[in-house]
Symmetry: C2
Subunit: 180 residues, 2 copies
């Protein structure tokens, strides 16, 4: 049942990737529900009708977008784990105002964990598998890695949810100090 590619296979694959990348970014910025299929396709340079040539449903795209986002995070975690200074830099970036204010380019777990927990088993699996890989890439004991992750994610999640900017900054600063 080899699928015949009338359009060049590499271009189709590139479009597929672009859809996933744009979806991943937009979902992280505004959540699964506030981003429409049409908006994602437009960002990928296509019309909304073509979406279903690439994915079965919006939920299937959520799973692919989460897997992609976790892959990006894994790459960053791997690079960070190479040296002590890398770890320090990674932590400071994670807990930075820039990360807080730009979820579209940031950690998928910190941006979408609650959306994911209300989504399909497939989406939660993509999240969990990604988290497992990230834990493996982190230095120190597994328990330490889990604790570090929870504290970091919690910090960004809380810092983004409060209205008062001074409090938001204080949250990030406190966790930075405690985890350093």
């Amino acid at each position: 049942m080899q699928k015949v590619m009338r359009y060049p296979a590499e271009e189709t694959a590139a479009k597929h990737d672009r859809i996933v990348e744009e979806a991943s970014r937009l979902f992280r910025e505004r959540g699964f529900e506030d981003v429409t299929v049409g908006e994602i396709m437009k960002a990928a340079g296509l019309t909304h009708g073509a979406f279903y040539a690439h994915f079965d449903s919006k939920e299937a795209l959520q799973a692919a977008a989460v897997a992609h986002g976790q892959g990006v995070s894994l790459d960053r975690a791997k690079r960070a784990s190479l040296s002590k200074s890398g770890q320090r830099l990674y932590l400071n970036r994670y807990l930075s105002l820039d990360h807080r204010d730009n979820p579209g380019n940031g950690c998928t777990m910190a941006a979408l964990a609650q959306d994911i927990s209300r989504s399909t088993p497939e989406v939660k699996k993509a999240m969990g598998d990604g988290f497992e890989s990230i834990l493996s890439a982190m230095s120190g004991s597994r328990e330490d890695a889990i604790f570090q992750s929870a504290a970091r994610v919690g910090a960004i999640v809380l810092a983004r949810a409060v209205q008062d900017e001074a409090l938001s900054d204080e949250i990030l600063g406190s966790i930075r100090k405690k985890l350093s």
Copy 2:
């Protein structure tokens, strides 16, 4: 401009409270977007049309629901802070499977922080004000209280978002151990 209450004031206030309580519970269970105004009113024993005699909009209810949820959390935090054993019990309850599996009766921040961060300034203010009160009620330094909060919230958020139950349990166990 005294508002004349044709219906007994206490009953109207009681209905208002019931709407807020049901909204708070349903929102925590399934998020702001997946819960409808009609569903909330039905849970409160009314029809959906009457909603606008109580609130200007669904967003206004979100703010009231978050404020209510944070109030409940504050009461719990206050009671917990009275003794060392109270603190231990509170922490174990917070990081329990029961809390993970029943967000409707649990921490508003752990259930809705990401929804809140995408909502109106009023909703984020209700969240931030509640968090400030909770921090004041917690024992130890403010920095410690913030760190504890972030680690706890992050733990529940991650534990709810992964598909694998063993991993989910492990997350809760690790944070419990580290924070004890």
